[in-house]
C-alpha cells in the first residue's frame, strides 16, 4: 500500500507531465495548420507535373530515354522519410516497417534517410545507408528537396542505381495517414493514356524536354512527399498527445479519489481510536480488581 504522501507525489508528477503534453498538443496543432497549408499549395503543381511526366512516357520515343527505360535492376535506391522526434504514436514505425518489408523482397538496397528516427532504425539493422539528412528545419526543406533530387539524378545517371523508390506517409485527413512506397524512377507510365494527344509537340525536342522537366518533377515530388510526411507527423502527434492528455486527466482523477479515500480512512481511524479510548476513560479506566 502506498502512503498518502506517495500518492500526493504521484499526482504532482502526473499533472506536470500533463502540462507538457498539453503544450506539445498545442504546438503540433499550430504546426499542423502550417504544414497543411504548405501541402495544399504543392499538391496541385505536383499532380499536374506527374500527369505531364506520365503523358510524356506514352510517347514511343520517350521509352528509350533513360528516365523511362526499364533496366536490369542491380541496386535499388530508397528514400525514406521519417521524423526527427518521437512521441508521435506509430507514425515512424509504420513507414519504416513498410519500407523494410519492401526491401526484403530481394532488393539490393541503398538508402537515403531523412529524419533521425529512421536513421537509428536502419542503422541497427545494418542497412546500407549512403546518405542521411538529419535535423531538417522547416524552412530548408524546399532547397533540401532540390539538392536531394539532384543527388538522386546524379546517382541514377551514373548507373549506381537502376531504380528509385520513395517511402513516405500520405496524409488523408487528421485521423488517417497511409504509409506508401512509390517508384520514382524509372517513371511508371502504364495505363495513363487518358489524354489522347498523339499530335502533341514538345519543344525544343522530346529529349531536352524530358531532361529539363524531370529534375523539376522530382524536386516537386520530393517536396510534396516531405510535406505529406510532415503533415502526417504533426497530425499523428496531435492525436496522440490528445489521447495522452486524456489519459493523464483520468489518472489524476483516479489518484485523487484514492487519496481522498485514504485521507477519509485515516480520519475515520483516528476518530475511532479517540472514541475508543474516550469510552475506556469514561468507564473509569480498566478494572482494578
Amino acid at each position: 500500500m502506498s502512503s498518502m504522501r506517495d500518492i500526493k507525489q504521484r499526482i504532482e508528477n502526473v499533472s506536470s507531465v500533463e502540462q507538457i503534453i498539453k503544450a506539445m498538443d498545442m504546438v503540433s496543432s499550430t504546426r499542423l495548420v502550417k504544414a497543411r497549408r504548405q501541402l495544399e499549395g504543392i499538391r496541385p503543381m505536383y499532380k499536374e507535373l506527374k500527369l505531364i511526366a506520365e503523358e510524356v512516357g506514352t510517347q514511343e520515343n520517350a521509352k528509350r530515354h533513360i528516365y523511362y527505360k526499364e533496366r536490369e535492376v542491380k541496386n535499388t535506391l530508397y528514400i525514406i522519410l521519417t521524423s526527427d522526434r518521437g512521441l508521435c504514436g506509430s507514425y515512424n514505425f509504420n513507414i519504416m516497417s513498410k519500407a523494410l518489408k519492401h526491401m526484403n523482397q530481394g532488393k539490393n538496397e541503398k538508402i537515403i534517410i531523412v529524419g533521425s528516427k529512421g536513421y537509428e532504425y536502419f542503422k541497427k539493422r545494418d542497412k546500407n545507408i549512403i546518405h542521411s539528412v538529419l535535423d531538417v528545419a522547416d524552412a530548408k526543406v524546399y532547397y533540401g528537396a532540390e539538392s536531394l533530387a539532384k543527388m538522386i539524378i546524379d546517382s541514377y545517371l551514373a548507373a549506381e542505381v537502376e531504380e528509385v523508390y520513395i517511402a513516405y506517409t500520405h496524409f488523408e485527413n487528421v485521423l488517417t495517414y497511409v504509409p506508401v512506397v512509390e517508384r520514382l524512377l524509372p517513371i511508371v507510365s502504364d495505363g495513363t493514356e487518358n489524354r489522347d494527344r498523339d499530335d502533341k509537340k514538345y519543344d525544343p525536342d522530346l529529349d531536352s524536354f524530358i531532361d529539363n522537366m524531370i529534375p523539376l518533377y522530382l524536386h516537386m515530388n520530393l517536396f510534396r512527399a516531405y510535406s505529406e510526411s510532415h503533415t502526417s507527423e504533426q497530425a499523428s502527434r496531435m492525436v496522440n498527445m490528445d489521447a495522452a492528455g486524456k489519459n493523464a486527466s483520468e489518472i489524476i482523477e483516479d489518484l485523487t479519489h484514492m487519496y481522498n479515500r485514504k485521507r477519509q480512512a485515516a480520519i475515520t481511524q483516528e476518530i475511532s481510536e479517540i472514541v475508543g479510548s474516550a469510552n475506556i476513560l469514561n468507564k473509569g479506566g480498566p478494572d482494578d480488581s
Binding site: G41, I42, L49, I52, K201, Y202, D203, P204, N212, L216
Partner: protein, 152 residues
Amino acid sequence: MMEQETSLLEAKKIILNITTPRGLKLSEEADMVIMRCVDGDFGVLPGHEPVSTVLGDGILRIINDGMEKKLAVFGGVVEVDNTSVNIYSTIAQKPEEIDLERAIRDREEAEAGILERTEELRYQSLGVGVRRALVRIEVSTNFEEDDFSEEG
C-alpha cells in the same frame, strides 16, 4: 465550318494559369502571352497548337486589351493548347513582390563573385544569380515607370 471555329477562337482569349509550389498563383485572360523558353522567346496567341516546353529564366509578358503586364518567371514547364496556357514554375513573381534593393544587391554580389572565382561550378551558379537579378530588376523598374506614366 472552319470560319466558325476561327471566329470562335478569335473572340476567345487565352486563359493563363500559373501554378507554383504555393498553389495557383495567377489565373487570367490574355490576348497574347510571351515567355522566355530555354531556347528563346516564345509567343502564344489563341488557337495555338498543343505544345509542351520548358522555360528558362526570364520575363513573362502578358498582353491583354493593349495593356502589358510583366512577371519574373524562373524555370518551369509550360503546356499550351488552343485556349489555355498552363505554366508550372517554382518561382513566379509579380513586380510588386520583387524586392528591388535586394535584387540590385544580389546582382552586385554575384558579379563581384564572378570576378574573383574561377571554379567552374561556382561560376555557373553565380551566372544564374546575375541573370535572375537582372530579370527581377527589369521587371520591377518597368513596373515603376508604368506607374509613373499612368499618373502623368
